[in-house]
């Protein structure tokens, strides 16, 4: 196991009376890619912000690089790259200037700055946009710039809060590729995402959070084998929802997700053939994935506002 660089135990955050992060424990090893999953409002961003030192905790222990985390710690800040959930780019400045001022905040010399800016613009595929005002960028370009900005000081750890939300598939793939590149250089990555494919593809280990509590943590494969059967048969029809009763005779665990009925089980090929024979239904047999785990653990209802 690599040396541990984040230790959180009984980590707690309250806003007023509401407990937003409720005594969670986790550890992250050096060079790992560690992901936080959870419904809206689960406390992912709050946890990330505590690690970033932007929000004080209300209880428990939190150490990063062996240092107790407190806000405004310049020593810790110098070793971390931060990608917040909302792009807080400097809208008064151009693309290149955004990187330039950030380099200055981190104390880079003039020569280092010029080199860094060019290298990061290339990294983010924004070299031809250096003199474009930030306000004129597309959402994907802004996101790439925020990620580039997080890298000005060669951080040992990069924390990304929903790095790819709202991006098109090309932009997302580019960011995945860039993050993979970072990992190869030994940088520890911490991220949150709502895309299960992203989590499965990038993360060594995941933590699933719900209403401030940890539901489970482990590698994507472990989580899948722990919580769901290996195969899923999705069933839907054109007009309306397939009802549970229509399939009560078939084996397997059944779930209703939106307009789709899913049957979870082992070796569902025979079940699939039975469904195909029933007129009006379409179905798809696929291996279980993280999304099934997520839905099973956090429930199927919309959580917003809870």
């Amino acid at each position: 196991m690599h040396p541990t660089i984040i230790v959180a135990s009984n980590l707690t955050k309250r806003y007023g009376e509401t407990v937003v992060v409720d005594g969670i424990d986790f550890e992250v090893g050096q060079g790992e890619c560690f992901g936080f999953l959870g419904p809206n409002g689960a406390g992912k961003s709050t946890t990330m912000r505590m690690i970033m030192g932007l929000t004080p905790r209300d209880g428990g222990r939190l150490e990063v690089f062996g240092r107790d985390v407190v806000p405004e710690d310049s020593v810790l800040a110098a070793q971390m790259g931060i990608v917040p959930q909302d792009n807080n780019l400097d809208v008064d400045l151009e693309v290149g200037e955004n990187l330039d001022v950030y380099c200055r905040y981190f104390g880079l010399s003039a020569r280092e700055r010029e080199e860094k800016i060019e290298q990061l613009l290339a990294f983010a595929q924004l070299s031809d946009r250096r003199y474009t005002p930030v306000t004129k960028l597309s959402g994907g370009m802004m996101r790439r710039l925020v990620i580039a900005r997080a890298l000005v000081a060669q951080p040992k750890m990069v924390i990304l809060d929903e790095p790819t939300t709202g991006l098109d598939p090309q932009a997302r793939h580019l960011i995945w590729q860039r993050l993979a590149k970072l990992r190869e250089t030994g940088v520890t990555l911490l991220l949150t995402t709502h895309y299960m494919e992203e989590a499965a593809r990038l993360c060594d280990r995941l933590l699933i959070l719900n209403r401030g509590c940890i539901l489970d943590q482990g590698s994507p494969e472990d989580l899948i084998s722990r919580h769901v059967e290996p195969e899923v048969l999705e069933i839907w029809n054109r007009d309306g929802m397939p009802s549970l009763e229509d399939f009560a005779d078939l084996p397997g665990r059944k779930e209703q997700v939106g307009d789709t009925l899913t049957i979870h089980g082992f070796q569902l090929e025979t079940v699939r053939q039975l469904v195909v024979q029933r007129a009006g239904y379409a179905c798809l047999l696929r291996p279980a994935n993280l999304e099934d785990v997520f839905l099973r653990l956090t429930g199927h209802d919309l959580r917003e506002g809870l």
């Binding site: 932007l54 917040p84 400045l93 104390g107």
Partner: protein, 265 residues
Amino acid sequence: MRGPTWMVFWRGLIPSYRFVHVWRRHFMVWRKTAMASLAGSLGEPLLYLLGLGYGLGRFVGAIGEMDYMVYVASGILASNSMNTATFEAIYGGFTRMTRQNTFHAMLATPLTVADVVAGEVAWAATRSLISGGAIFLVGMVLGAFSPGSVLMVLPVVLLSGLAFGAMAMVITAISPGYDFFLYYFTLVTTPMFLFCGVFYPVASLPPLVQSLVGVLPLTHVVALLRPVANALPVLDVGFHLAVIVAYALVAFTVAVALVRRRIIV
């Protein structure tokens, strides 16, 4: 920051040299529209200078030994240092703190709240210095300032900008929105503009009002700038300086604590 709470509190009020980077960022933005913003910010003080200096000056003639144009020019120089720093720290500072999240982005780097606030205040004072320099030039051409005094005038303008910039940052830190600033203008800066000796001697006010006005920072800026700008001897230099410095330090301390309370949650 670590250690006992009181120590963390006091250390948290002290900016590092990194505040220069914040100042530099504001300068970088200002440079893009320097000419327009300079022209804009000079308009009002020059109108006052010409309108009152020539218009009112014909009736007033002189105050004491001093021609009214000369008298009012140093007053405008002082009040402009207050207004310029106040506007920058209030409108610029508030926009950066809330709408643009610039402060939040800065805190994700080695910068601290004290650095960010110090950068804002230093920049507000720099704006005072720039427009003060321009007013001095115009006033000099009009014969209202003695050219040699510039080396004494500008440091006082800068100090005044620091004090008023820090005071405005306190208001910025507690303001729920842009409308709130009107209270500050109506209750604080406009009364100072009218009563602190910009247009007429404080000594002509009723004694009770005089002692009230004596507590206000602009009174001391005017008391320093008027003789200094005309190469006359200044009375109580140390006292006036001490009052302005005290305002700057206390306001800065309060501003840092309030901005911290507002954005580190």
